[in-house]
Subunit: 402 residues, 2 copies
């Protein structure tokens, strides 16, 4: 059995386990949300409570720990952004990022024989997705190959390697590898769970399902998330379409996607009023994990922003740093630089007047800062005290604290 | 208002916000669980669903994200340990460890004026607890001082520093600092949330509350967790006592606490049949974060193991490495070395015949491996492939995978 796929753009359908439509745009799974109601949510853990909207039920193992992330508010963050912000903490996942939702679903689908004759999995990534895919494949006992760029720091390689995938550094143009693996994977019976393929997108729907359920029977005015390949953006949009089609949400929240200014092909297409996203030459940014110069689902993300009345915006590294710092010192939340774009973007759209101060915005913090210790904190040696001088130090500390 | 405290050992009571009884043993909060039933759990997020057993309700902000961690099973881990293992993933916390439960409750209590006249917080730690306390204090807008040993790696210092506490390296005997801060803190109006103080222990109860609720109306046969200061062990024991007193559990699970063999004062006291834990000279172990040579709640943990029919055991670094590796490659779970002791200890007690293969054991994986990248993976350079040779590589890969 293979799941049916449909092109969001031209409407073409196929039962072949492909990621791309003949028209060139990405496919996603064909689903039938009709009749879904929030009461249909099950008591299964995490993302599996939405099994009636997913192609597969809870698979067991670490996959059961995907989803179910907290949504918190913090008055100081509201003040920083200028509106009511609901922070979705995707870092609270087994491998520390939102990627675990797509890996959990994708790998369970492969293990259940729902992805054609694929009996192994792979991915192309230099960070979160590599780690996530390797971890969930290990748990499902599926062979896994992970392609990484050959300039990856050895420390990050060790993190991925702990799950013992076939780990391969690749020389040559890394962008081309994405499509090459999709093509060659089909030939070799390896399901490449790259960032915007239908199975991964289907798992990424659950970010939006959780946000919307938390607001039900209302909806948030907007959802803001970082965008790189456009896979997560596609999943969030697909979820909103399904919920709206089923009548579970009366209004569709506006979708705002955020890129780093140094590499912002989707934001540039949005600003230019273009119908398609074209590749750019990437500059340097601290938000390296979303610096995708040629996003495979860029046009789909562009469409999602337009059709929901949102936007795609670009923020500077300074804005990203300010948001990351505010999350840490005001809200006690550590995020990676690319995740901080969600808050930086929220603040920006409020300043631009697109979002009102009275609105409620869900900002998706896609990954923990624990993996990025070196960028999160500034180098410090701290104060220093000798044990006998402890009381003296504390007197001084409380003096300052008063 | 101050919360009342009682000594588990001599039964002395006080309204003073102290951590130690005059008899020398640690105090914990006096609570009244009578009449508690699982139906009394609220719909609040995470650990706050047990508000009827806690001295404070959901405080808002990042504290709302504490607790509510997944409990998963994995057939390969059952095979590794030789029994039915339920893995409690405490790494899925805002700062990646179980410490967030105690920080969330402790800091909220201080902010609410329930901790005497304390208007600032502090802690003594070289890792998880430092990060956790600093993060939750930042969110609560409380001044926070963190004392760390002066040989701490600068990278770990940067991780703590991102939350902008007053960070102080201390020269001199680090163990003495623990008691000194408790004494001086009271004088200076600073509540030191060290690892076994009553407020932190009260938050740590929720680990066991969640485990027991997941098994209700049954109970697990045993709970296995790493032990260092004995604070977490005390919290888990206190929760079981309260649940049993309330009649919410018919039987009390056996408590097994695990230490690294190189630094195992509580295990040594248990083996010797001693009534008290005395300090040892610590050797080197990869599980450095639980290498506490003079555990302040060691005797209380010893009592907890004995009274529940469990034990305190010591495992070697090789056993810890094997458990850490099995969690990664069999279950896709990354944990820090000290957390892997929970699985190593489970395997050991099964081998020793204390736990049956048909038993159900909750093993508490106290912290994520994401902070310990360098110890989790072995150094690797991976395979290497040139882009045009991709198809050839995949042919070889699937050949091996078949």
């Amino acid at each position: 059995m293979t799941l049916s796929r449909v092109c969001y753009d031209c409407g073409a359908r196929t039962n072949a386990p492909v990621a791309r439509c003949d028209c060139g745009e990405p496919m996603w799974l064909e689903t039938d949300p009709e009749g879904f109601d929030w009461d249909d949510c099950s008591d299964e853990p995490g993302m599996w409570r939405y099994e009636s909207l997913l192609p597969i039920s809870r698979p067991g193992g670490i996959a059961d720990a995907a989803g179910g992330t907290p949504l918190v508010t913090d008055a100081a963050i509201d003040a920083f952004a200028g509106t009511n912000v609901h922070l979705k903490l995707e870092g609270e996942h087994p491998t520390g990022s939102f990627k675990d939702r797509g890996s959990a679903l994708g790998i369970a689908a492969v293990a259940a024989g729902l992805a054609g004759d694929g009996s192994a999995v792979g991915t192309v990534s230099h960070g979160n997705m590599a780690m996530s895919t390797a971890a969930f494949a290990a748990a499902a006992d599926l062979p896994c190959v992970v392609f990484v760029p050959d300039d990856i720091p050895s420390e990050r390689l060790a993190v991925i390697d702990q799950f013992d995938p076939s780990l391969v550094t690749v020389a040559g143009e890394y962008g081309r590898l994405y499509d090459e693996t999709l093509r060659l994977g089909t030939e070799h019976g390896i399901v490449f769970l790259n960032s915007d393929v239908p199975l991964r997108v289907e798992g990424q729907k659950t970010t939006a399902l959780e946000i919307c359920e938390a607001f039900a029977p209302d909806v948030p005015d907007a959802i803001v998330l970082p965008v790189s390949s456009g896979g997560h953006a596609s999943g969030v949009w697909k979820a909103l379409r399904e919920l709206h089609e089923a009548g579970a949400i009366a209004d569709v929240p506006k979708l705002y996607f955020v890129q780093a200014a140094a590499c912002a092909p989707i934001a540039e297409a949005f600003d230019a009023g273009a119908d398609e996203v074209t590749s750019v030459v990437a500059g340097e940014t601290i938000a390296y994990s979303i610096a995708n110069a040629d996003p495979p689902s860029g046009t789909r993300a562009l469409r999602a922003a337009r059709e929901t009345g949102g936007a795609v915006i670009a923020v500077s590294d300074d804005e990203i740093r300010a948001a990351q710092h505010a999350l840490a010192v005001d809200a006690g939340i550590t995020v990676e630089t690319s995740s901080a774009t969600a808050l930086a973007g929220t603040k920006r759209v409020v300043e631009e007047g697109t979002i009102d101060p009275s609105d409620h915005v869900a900002a998706v913090l896609t990954g923990t800062g624990l993996k990025e210790a070196s960028t999160a904190g500034s180098p410090t040696s701290g104060d220093h005290v000798e044990l006998p001088a402890l009381g003296e130090y504390l007197t001084e500390f409380t003096g300052h604290a008063d």
